[in-house]
């Protein structure tokens, strides 16, 4: 009998693990999900609400794919894990045995104990069920006269964009003095602030939520701003202050937990034959400057690829390469390669260039002593991953990178190029500095 590998979670990490196990072996594979029957792209949920896509389009594989590749899908909620008997208990009290268990259970939206955070009309945006809730809570601007979004990160700005697509007035509460400036340098963060306002979003910087006020039916009817005590009427409150691993069902399982499921570089938990990948996995120490928990699409995929190798007799450590990521802030695309921090760390300098139209900019992080290129943030200009990955590996200098920037340009043909402007700005800065 082939080994039975059970994967909890049908997101990118779990599905990648399953696909690669199938490529490498004939093991029996089961994927369990309480959320949806099939794998879909979580990152595309916003586009369903906005009418760019239907749910069907967010599925990367057609429904026949799973049968064809002998990957069994089970729709169920796992209540607990009994590792002594290698068994899962489902919410309906049925069970399933496994030989190896992969936890790919993802995250859930953070709630920080705000009064009223569990009222009707208060929600995060993470799961398919959250999308269904939003469709119910905010189908249009008559039902939802105003929405307040709490938390200035990537999901917050996506939610604002979604609601604006239906012309629903949005107030966006951001704790920081400038949007996402724990991550972005000031020049970039400021540009995004202005872009948010250009989209007619009521951006409130340096503003916290004190409480959410209920109406007589237990629905949110207003929020109170902590700093001013201002009461802001609204029908929907979006809680988008980050996510954390979805591990409550594992509290008494004996699996070592921190904020997430503790794993070593082999993605093994403390219990034999139980592994964790994706958003829910927490490394004992961050790898190469990465955070111990990486809630990023591609890291989930990479962990899945790595773990599949291990499970199929070719033990591999999870060893991500140079950091990269991307996002989109309304109309402005953002990519990052290598490390750029909101403030230069000791011994680092930032070079910042911004286009006069206020929708394109880059920030380059350099080691001041050696001139070595450490990282790049680019907004409104696309860059080639392969080229930056190579430059980082070759430990190029920033001088070299700026000089050769055109090689890395990934904008569509006929787009205006800004390498000369950037080079000139870089040179004049070098002279004055």
């Amino acid at each position: 009998m082939e080994e039975h590998i059970v994967i909890i979670g049908n997101g990118i990490s779990g599905v990648t693990t399953a696909r690669h196990i199938r490529k490498l072996s004939d093991k029996k594979i089961t994927i369990i999900s309480a959320e949806t029957d099939h794998f879909f792209s979580r990152t595309a949920l916003m586009y369903i609400y906005m009418g760019h896509m239907k749910y069907e389009h967010t599925k990367p594989y057609e429904n026949y794919f799973w049968d064809k590749n002998r990957i069994e899908l089970k729709r169920a909620f796992v209540k607990s894990v009994d590792h002594a008997n290698k068994q899962l208990q489902f919410a309906d009290d049925t069970t399933m045995s496994y030989d190896k268990l992969v936890l790919a259970v993802g995250s859930k939206p953070n709630k920080f104990g705000w009064p009223g955070q569990d009222l009707e009309g208060v929600q995060g945006l993470y799961s398919y069920q959250d999308l269904e809730k939003l469709e119910k809570n905010a189908p249009n601007k008559d039902v939802c006269n105003r929405a307040v979004i709490v938390g200035g990160g990537l999901i917050g700005i996506e939610m604002a964009e979604m609601l604006r697509s239906r012309d629903i007035p949005v107030t966006f509460l951001v704790r920081e003095k400038s949007f996402w400036n724990g991550v972005l340098p000031d020049g970039e963060s400021g540009m995004i602030n202005r872009h948010i306002q250009n989209h007619h979003i009521d951006l409130r910087l340096g503003t916290n939520l004190r409480e959410i006020i209920s109406d007589e039916n237990g629905r949110a009817r207003a929020i109170v701003i902590d700093e001013t005590g201002e009461e802001l009427p609204c029908n929907v409150v979006g809680l988008t202050a980050g996510v954390s691993p979805n591990i409550d069902f594992l509290r008494d399982s004996g699996i070592e937990l921190g904020r997430g499921i503790k794993v070593n570089r082999m993605l093994e938990t403390n219990i034999p034959d139980i592994y964790a990948v994706g958003d829910c996995a927490e490394q004992h120490e961050g790898i190469n400057g990465r955070r111990p928990i990486e809630a990023v699409w591609y890291t989930g995929r990479m962990m899945g690829e790595t773990l599949a190798q291990t499970l199929c007799g070719n033990p591999r450590q999870y060893n991500p390469g140079h950091w990269f990521n991307s996002a989109k802030f309304l109309d402005i695309e953002y990519q990052t390669y290598g490390w750029v921090f909101s403030k230069p760390r000791e011994g680092e300098t930032h070079f910042h260039w911004k286009h006069p139209d206020d929708t394109k900019c880059i920030t380059v992080n350099t080691d001041a002593a050696t001139g070595k290129f450490i990282g790049l943030n680019n907004f409104g200009i696309r860059m080639r991953h392969e080229v930056f990955d190579r430059w980082l590996t070759e430990e190029r200098t920033t001088d070299y990178v700026i000089e050769h920037l055109a090689e890395a340009n990934f904008d569509p043909e006929f787009f205006k190029h800004f390498e000369k402007d950037i080079l000139n700005a870089y040179k004049s800065q070098a002279v004055t500095a």
Binding site: A44, M53, K54, H57, R301, E386, F410, D411
Partner: protein, 548 residues
């Protein structure tokens, strides 16, 4: 699904249209209404005046609508609500538009009399076609035909909706330049120049209506005897156009496709493509992305291509056969050289591109070659025009004429492929099947260019390392039904014969993952199992060997 049902019921943004858009609809519909009145035979008075009013209103209506939709918005992707709007999601409005368009094509192709063609005194036009007489006299000095009416409306559609498309993509110069290009080629090459050239015709000199960019096999009548004769009879200028036409097929087009991919034609020059990219743009997401649709596409488009080659060869070999003194070629030299050409091409591809030909593609190519060569052999031994076929057998008795076999094939192709497939289905079904059904499933030109693009071209869509998040915007908005995401999420470049290079996948990608480019043939097709971002060892390991 609850989510989708709820949304379609709201008359709220993004489904609703604003005041400017309503004014645009009103003005445009008024312009169309004038055409309807003319069709119904209402006497409007001055045709020149009312035609001007009508065409101006239609154009202005579309442009005002576009202004309302895009002028006050920040530059960016404008797909809000395309799956909610009745018009663009196969709702009632979409079906009505589809039925109206289909009806128009049926009337145009088969019942031009309804439009007033030659219905008046002494064969003068009445109704809609008479409305276009002044413009036709102005351009080419003769009365309008149904094709002149169609050509005018077609050009207006590309121009007006082209402006709309450029407004929608105001942030994207690739889309804008491409649209200017199709607007130019439609207006100049397909409309104004051929009509003006018709002025040169006299009793002693005449050229066939010649849209220079419309090549064989999209132009399936390119080598009909009457056309070839007209070219030859028109002395040097005619010969020039005939030779230019042949050069375009065998030299210019393959060269441009090698350099830039088939997009140089399909989304920058072609009239069918031009309409699809402009008036058809709101329907691009309706194309099927299923694997089954792709399988159907591959059989269908190549079957049409084989049929068009066989049909054209039959037509040419027939007139070479019974009138051999007039042409350089005899029937059998022609058939032999065509056969040798195809066999040599096939052998070269089978040898030099053997790594890129999957077994099913190879099998399909062998079958196509055998059928084609078999038909050539039959042509050389039989006299096709002497095999009489009564059309009543396959036209439900509508047509009781008798044709030679070559003429029957030619008529069947003209009816089945030229009229029904490319017109009635291809354009009439935009709102149901998407805007590129014809280009994807039926166009033999796209078939040839596609084979060239897949095997001999520098063009590809490059995937940007590991940045893809599998969101699906690229696949959803691909008008050719290519599952772009299935490549992008694997870090593979997209090299597909059907890709027309419209650039919309790259435009709608929220993470900057896709780029259309022409680069070296080396590494153009790059199957990878593990994406950039993992440590280098693992990538080497997975890509080089598999665990048994």
């Amino acid at each position: 699904m609850a989510i989708e049902r709820n949304m379609s019921l709201t008359g709220q943004p993004p489904v609703s249209i604003n005041t400017t858009q309503k004014i645009g609809v009103l003005i445009g519909m008024a312009g169309l209404f004038i055409l309807v009145l003319a069709t119904l035979g209402v006497d409007l008075g001055s045709a020149a005046l009312w035609l001007t009013i009508s065409l101006t209103a239609i154009t202005a209506g579309v442009i005002i609508f576009a202004k309302g939709a895009y002028a006050n918005k920040l530059p960016g992707i404008k797909n809000d609500g395309v799956w909610f709007k009745s018009m663009s999601s196969r709702g009632v409005l979409g079906w009505l538009a589809g039925i109206a368009l289909t009806g128009f094509y049926v009337i145009l192709y088969f019942y031009a009399g309804v439009l007033g063609l030659g219905q008046g005194v002494d064969g003068a036009n009445t109704g809609l076609i008479a409305l276009f007489d002044p413009l036709s006299y102005f351009l080419k000095g003769s009365a309008a035909s149904e094709w002149f009416v169609y050509g005018t409306l077609y050009t207006i559609a590309i121009l007006a909706f082209g402006v709309k498309f450029m407004w929608k993509y105001k942030h994207n110069r690739y889309e804008q330049l491409r649209t200017i290009s199709v607007m130019f080629f439609q207006t100049a090459f397909a409309f104004v120049i051929p009509e003006l050239m018709a002025r040169l015709n006299s009793d002693t000199f005449s050229l066939p209506y010649n849209d220079l960019k419309l090549m064989w096999p999209l132009n399936y009548y390119a080598f009909d005897q009457w056309r070839v004769d007209q070219f030859i009879n028109a002395q040097n200028i005619g010969l020039f156009f005939l030779i230019l036409g042949i050069l375009t097929i065998f030299v210019i087009s393959p060269f441009l496709t090698y350099k830039y991919g088939k997009r140089w034609y399909c989304s920058w020059v072609c009239g069918c493509g031009g309409l699809a990219e402009t008036a058809g743009d709101p329907y691009r997401h309706l194309s099927s992305k299923k694997m089954s649709a792709w399988k159907l596409e591959r059989w269908m488009i190549n079957a049409v291509l084989v049929f068009s080659v066989v049909m054209t060869t039959a037509v040419i070999s027939t007139f070479l056969g019974y009138d051999s003194t007039k042409y350089w070629f005899t029937k059998n030299t022609f058939l032999l050289s065509a056969g040798v050409f195809l066999v040599v091409m096939f052998a070269l591809v089978a040898y030099f591109k053997r790594d890129q030909l999957k077994s099913d593609a190879f099998k399909g190519a062998v079958i196509a070659l055998i059928i084609t060569l078999g038909a050539f052999v039959a042509m050389s031994f039989l006299r096709f025009h002497e095999i009489q076929i009564n059309a009543a057998y396959f036209s439900f008795g509508l047509n009781t004429n008798t044709y030679g076999l070559d003429g029957a094939m030619r008529s069947f192709y003209g009816f089945g492929i030229g009229s029904i497939f490319s017109g009635v289905v291809g354009t009439g079904f935009y709102p149901i099947l998407g805007n590129r059904v014809w280009c994807r499933m039926g166009c033999p030109m796209a078939g040839i260019l596609g084979i060239q693009q897949r095997l001999f071209s520098k063009f590809r869509i490059t995937t940007n390392g590991g940045q893809c998040i599998s969101c699906g915007n690229c696949s959803t908005h691909c008008e050719m039904g290519i599952d772009v995401r299935s490549y992008a999420q694997k870090g593979e470049n997209i090299v597909r014969s059907s890709c027309v290079g419209c650039g919309v996948c790259s435009a709608v990608c929220p993470r900057g993952v896709l780029k259309l480019e022409n680069d070296s043939l080396e590494g153009r097709i790059n199957p990878t199992d593990v994406l950039l971002g993992n440590d280098v060892d693992l990538m080497d390991y997975v890509n080089n060997k598999k665990i048994s």
